[in-house]
Assembly symmetry: C2
Homo-oligomer: 226 residues x 2
């Protein structure tokens, strides 16, 4: 019981910081996207392709989380945008305080899109609000169609599911229709985009989805304060 | 700080129950294996192939953990061995108490091998001793070679790494030698077996590994108490 109470305290402190972050993102018209998946579903590869497709003059930044190594930041820095690695040391998710701390020396007025790549974990990151506009869950076709039913929380909380690695469909026993149906059983309104970071299939739809979010974020920042 | 202390209390209570479980497993000559991986690396598929390869008269039992659904137990019950689903409800790992509770109505004297399939998560299950003889980590070739470096704890604590889905190697940018080198950087003594649950490649080596463990467990139970 004591454990639950303490857990709630940690989460409510997280919620407080996340709310502050969200307000700052809104004020600056920033679209903030929190990418979550199992290890190896392709979050970093998707970000690589995304940064490649975005023009060099886009105002994009990336925070990428891992328990150990700077590997992902190294991969993502090649595209010339500001990238910071958050190394959690052992913690199985990012929390709002880590985001707040790693944003400290960035000027938010210079950012239009902030990508956050969470630690590879389909469970714990779903409980931590990072002030994002949307959580995005990646599922790869090598993982099995029933993952939305087995890990419902993250599929319920995500605005978008990206079904990744569709180029591997000929080689794995995976029925995308069943996976989509399972995702919609958990979250009927979830957006779904099928992509392959290898062949580029579907990346145009993903880029459209981002662009729509960016326009919404800009419009929100331009609204007069009530 | 308070959080850390409470976390330690939870873990030491887990360690106490795990030690009791281990003693009971040892007394009964049971080999207990705790399978851990990211979601979708193929724990259930490996267990399906394993139960298929074991003779019908083998004394094998399975506890399989998931946050939601009884899917895995349904898949595994087809082979005629006792199988129980542990549905954690939201908890990201199995703990020793869950194992203890789900063993309550099984006669340990009728079991030679107990497989535990953990919740799909490469982080949190590494912290929870379940009284097993060995943790076994699965990595599939679709997940990237650097996972041992990014999630070192579970590779360090596992006796065996199973590199799964090697049938997909022609279709993915994955160098098994690099993955093995990364695993051995974290844990130089780790055993490694490469398998494909689709083609059956390498399963003989996995079955040999189990058989060796079983003989050790039997010999240990036969030793006179000091």
């Amino acid at each position: 019981m004591q454990r639950v109470e303490l857990g709630q305290k940690v989460l409510s402190e997280n919620a407080r910081i996340a709310a502050e972050l969200r307000e700052r993102f809104h004020d600056h018209g920033i679209l903030c996207l929190n990418l979550i998946s199992a290890p190896g579903s392709g979050k970093t590869s998707l970000l690589e392709r995304t940064l490649e497709l975005l023009g060099k003059d886009e105002r994009v930044a990336v925070l990428t989380g891992d328990i150990q190594t700077e590997n992902d930041a190294t991969r993502l820095k090649r595209f010339g945008f500001p990238v910071k690695q958050i190394t959690t040391g052992g913690t199985c998710h990012l929390d709002a305080q880590m985001i707040d701390r790693h944003l400290a020396d960035w000027q938010l007025e210079n950012i239009d899109i902030l990508f956050i790549e969470n630690v590879g974990n389909l469970v714990c990151p779903s409980s931590y609000d990072l002030g994002e506009d949307a959580k995005i869950v990646l599922l790869s076709v090598t993982e099995g169609e029933d993952k939305p039913l087995k890990y419902p929380s993250i599929f319920f909380k995500s605005e978008l599911m990206i079904l990744n690695k569709v180029d591997l469909l000929p080689y794995v026993p995976f029925n995308p229709d069943v996976a989509l149906e399972n995702a919609r059983r958990v979250h009927p309104e979830i957006d779904i985009v099928k992509v392959s970071c290898t062949t580029g299939e579907g990346l145009d739809l993903w880029m459209d989805w981002i662009e729509k979010g960016r326009r919404t974020a800009k419009a929100r920042a331009a609204e007069p304060v009530a």
